[in-house]
């Protein structure tokens, strides 16, 4: 099968994909679309600016004088020093960020999260913690939680956006599937398809998608969503992706401490053959990784050295967030931390600006062998 798949490119190019291109007509549509924007931008801007000036001033005057205005849209109810409720400006959630940027999952984002982060009591067979990612969408952001399971896991998405955008998603949406039924979750409109194991819930400022669990479980999870949680002004921080290019080990200037003969040093790996070695680097960081096939289930066990001039604290924070600490041991003058999420092992220790990790599916390697691997790395 593998040999046949190696030929996938030719198979698809000569077959299904043959003759299909991004057409001239499509290119013309793109050009027309941007030209429309370019040519009308200035007059529109001028009109809008002048109109906003007048309307804004008038509005400000009336609201200040008469106190009539209650802001619609993303209002955060906050308390001032005297604990009196007040309102703040509609939240500009995205700030200056453009759409579809990865975000750092910081405390602000997690505190504002309405989705439940622990659902193992509902579905015991999934990972104890989810992997969490966030990105910007139109005027807000989207945060997604993935819980791993044997065959299928559970995915949950929370979109936080301006009410007009949420309303638009809702009014323009199509049915999840033909069997979709309408529900009320905590008094909010929701749509559910048994066939797709998917539920969509709409509140004024948030739009949730729950996917993957059976009906009863999905309903339980839906009832755990804090639909009434107010949206707070939060600090969205762009995740600066570390771009590294592929490299040969010999091209890396800093010392590589990862032993390339781990299969000779660690009993569990002794029968593994042809480990895959990869490396990436940029001016300030590098990553060297050895992948062994587990003698138990042939899935990979990755042993990695990550060096960064700025340290690897952000990676450690992510491990601590996404996994649960199972064990902490001190061997060969290093403190090894063994984490798990019920499906994956993640173990590490640090040395100067280096982070050494072992990453594998739980069933692929016993925990003692992970300790053995990390203890075999010679730090100088």
């Amino acid at each position: 099968m593998k040999d046949k798949l190696d030929d996938v490119r030719t198979i698809l190019e000569d077959g299904v994909y043959k003759g299909y291109k991004f057409t001239e007509e499509s290119k013309r549509k793109v050009r027309n679309s941007i030209k429309k924007k370019n040519t009308t931008w200035f007059p529109n801007f001028l009109t809008i600016a002048v109109a906003c000036g007048f309307v804004g001033y008038g509005f400000f005057f009336v609201t200040q004088e008469l106190g009539l205005f209650e802001k619609e849209s993303l209002q955060a109810s906050v308390e001032n020093k005297n604990n009196e409720p007040t309102t703040v400006e509609p939240l500009d959630l995205n700030g200056d960020l453009s759409e579809d940027l990865p975000l750092i999952v910081n405390d602000d984002l997690l505190e504002n999260l309405s989705l439940p982060i622990e659902i193992q009591n509902v579905i015991p067979t999934i990972s104890s913690k989810p992997q969490i990612y966030a990105r910007t969408v139109s005027d807000g952001y989207q945060i997604s939680l993935t819980f791993y399971g044997d065959e299928f896991g559970v995915n949950m998405i929370e979109n936080v956006d301006l009410p007009k955008n949420i309303e638009e998603y809702k009014s323009t949406r199509n049915k999840i599937w033909a069997d979709e039924e309408n529900l009320l979750i905590n008094g909010h409109d929701a749509y559910y398809s048994v066939n797709q194991k998917e539920m969509h819930i709409f509140t004024k400022e948030k739009y949730f998608i729950l996917h993957g669990a059976e009906e009863e479980q999905l309903l339980q999870i839906a009832n755990m969503v804090d639909t009434e949680k107010p949206v707070q002004k939060i600090n969205l921080v762009k995740y600066e992706e570390v771009m590294m290019g592929s490299a040969e080990l010999s091209e890396i200037q800093q010392p590589i401490l990862l032993p390339l003969d781990l299969n000779e040093k660690v009993e569990f790996l002794k029968d593994t053959k042809s480990p895959v070695i990869t490396a990436r680097k940029n001016d300030t960081a590098f990553e060297a990784m050895i992948g062994y096939s587990s003698p138990i289930d042939t899935l990979d066990i990755f042993v990695t050295q990550q060096y960064s001039q700025n340290g690897n604290q952000h990676i450690i924070q992510q491990i601590q967030r996404d996994y649960t600490l199972e064990k902490e041991v001190e061997i060969n003058n290093r403190k090894i931390f063994l984490y798990s999420n019920g499906f994956h092992h993640k173990a590490y220790f640090t040395h100067q600006n280096n982070l050494f990790t072992v990453d594998s599916v739980i069933s692929s390697i016993p925990i003692e062998s992970i300790e053995e691997i990390l203890a075999a790395i010679e730090i100088k």
Binding site: M1, K2, K4, L5, D6, D7, V8, R9, I11, L12, D14, G15, V16, Y17, K18, G19, Y20, K21, F22, T23, E25, S26, K27, K29, V30, R31, S33, I34, K37, N38, S98, E99, D100, L101, Q131, Y133, R135, T146, Y148, R173, N174, K175, I176, W177, A178, E180, Q196, E241, M243, T278, R280, M289, T298, L299, D300, F302, H344, D359, S360, V361
Partner: protein, 184 residues
């Protein structure tokens, strides 16, 4: 012409040149990525148009991205997945037997290709895999991305990608074995 106007014009020109280069370099590739999710050439064209307009609008950011290739793949994948949530696509395109739905009196390129040879069967089997396996196979074997790159692009653990590849191969093996038995 004022200096600011000149600057704007130069900026706008370079932005449009960048767009043209981007459409030339990535247009066909992105169409195929979108198709691997949506399985409809018309909708794929619209998705990719949107992707280019988004990139153009965010020129100041995207033009400076070092690994633009990974970025544009990510945007196209995310857009395709958004579209997949729509009922129309799910029901009409994905939910039905795609190959049975090609009813043109003349055989389409797919139709011509999908005569009972082995390659056709492999292509058909790949496109009939569940989404998460299909995307992994497409990115790994067709686009030649590494497991690390796919992991970053899809924001999925590397071991999961590895497991999905393994599972995809098993599933394809089963599908192909089944067809061979049936044909015999």
């Amino acid at each position: 012409m004022e200096l600011t106007d000149m600057k704007n014009e130069i900026y706008s020109d370079s932005q449009e040149i960048w767009l043209e280069e981007m459409m030339t370099e990535y247009g066909d590739k992105m169409i195929r990525v979108a198709y691997s999710y949506i399985k409809d050439w018309g909708i794929s064209q619209e998705i990719v148009q949107e992707v280019f307009i988004t990139c153009y609008k965010n020129y100041s950011h995207y033009s400076k991205v070092e690994n633009f290739k990974a970025m544009i793949y990510k945007i196209t994948i995310n857009r395709s997945k958004d579209v997949l949530r729509s009922h129309f696509v799910k029901k009409v395109i994905v939910g039905t037997n795609f190959f049975a739905s090609q009813k043109s009196p003349e055989l389409s390129p797919e139709g011509l290709f999908l005569k009972n040879d082995e390659k056709a069967l492999i292509a058909k089997s790949i496109l009939s895999l569940p989404l998460k396996y299909r995307e992994t196979i497409h990115l790994f074997y067709y686009e030649n991305f590494s497991i690390t790159e796919i992991s970053e692009m899809l924001r999925v653990n590397q071991n999961t990608i590895k497991s999905r590849l393994k599972r995809s191969r098993e599933m394809l093996g089963h599908i192909l074995e089944g067809s061979e038995t049936y044909e015999r």
